[in-house]
Symmetry: C2
DNA sequence: TGGGTCATGTAACCTGTTACATGATTAG
DNA sequence: CTAATCATGTAACAGGTTACATGACCCA
């Protein structure tokens, strides 16, 4: 998955591992986390598979750069991946895994926990509001409005997800409060 | 993560690897996928860590059973995991990874693709409607209404997620149609 | 003089996936 | 007769995480 994400970025233009790490942070990281070390390692695999070539460019005052360029075979692989038939409707949520078992703790602990999650969610929204993913920054990379649409759609997904998440958290808190009062009312 | 999910199930009562595989399918699998082989392997690790003990029970006409029982140290580990402070607000979506790069394909291919996703989403909703996750089936396991709430909340999350997903897909299709007509209108 | 940016990675480990293997019983 | 259920895994590989390492330049 990550290899194809890197390939997709390389398809916009030749760049270094360092560039990829940075662009990743501003875009794909919202729905796929990647370690720097993994990016450098996968870049080696990409080269080994013949999907990209590299060229070392010396610089003065700065470390050498290694610029990767996608090959024809890399473009084919990217297209193959994009059009392959696979079930991607997969949701992996460590949060739900924990909440499933949260009945082990007291209802007060849980209400407190959910309120903490609401705060985190708000902080995320606020950060998105004051410092939104800067698509302009990469205008040189993705200048085609047809291509930019898809980036925009993933950003919208993130926003809708966040909203749904908050609604769900609030509903859960209401349900816990109810159960709490029912039990104390007996 | 999976190890702690298994530990959580074991905490409801002693059971075999086979039982865990089945309960997993009806519950946790909606937000965490696990291979049978991984469950059996992690069960070995859980035993090695002293979080559970096992007892082999011969049966006739059927293979031997290996019943796992959580230990005090296992319960402590479960509680530690539940209360640990960690950022779980993580979204991993292979779908978004692909959509981000979908500008490489034609707008007609993309509209078709999104319509396929809508159908898949509807099929999922329909399956949930005619064959909902059967919490009753495990009433013997989780009989405390306080504990059952948390299971219910994760199911609700799945439903809200699915709804948001459909809304997003529909919005995307509208945006693509618009862009398509704008471009052909020039 | 201390932290941020630029720029590269390696090593060890942990977690998840795919493919394979066995074999009796029971329900349709 | 065939498919599902019961019940256990192993081996190899792929992918993700954590910790560590280097070093110059620039700005405050």
């Amino acid at each position: 998955m990550l290899k194809h994400g890197i390939l997709g970025l390389l398809n916009y233009g030749s760049m270094t591992g360092y560039d990829i790490v940075n662009i990743f942070k501003d875009s794909l990281s919202y729905f796929w986390h990647a370690q720097t070390s993994q990016i450098y390692r996968d870049l080696q695999t990409i080269k080994k598979n013949g999907w990209a070539t590299d060229e070392t460019v010396p610089q003065d005052g700065k470390p050498d750069k290694k610029i990767f360029t996608i090959t024809e075979s890399g473009r084919e692989e990217l297209k193959r991946w994009l059009t392959e038939d696979s079930v991607e409707f997969e949701l992996r949520s460590p949060l739900m895994m924990k909440i499933f078992f949260r009945g082990e703790l007291s209802i007060d602990e849980n209400i407190e926990y959910f309120e903490k999650l609401v705060k985190e969610n708000n902080a995320f929204d606020y950060k998105m509001y004051i410092d939104p993913p800067d698509t302009e920054k990469y205008a040189g990379l993705i200048n085609d409005p047809m291509k930019a649409l898809y980036w925009k759609m993933t950003v919208e997904y993130g926003m809708m997800y966040s909203k749904m998440h908050r609604l769900w958290l609030e509903k859960c808190i209401r349900q816990m409060e109810e159960l709490k009062h029912e039990n104390s009312g007996n």
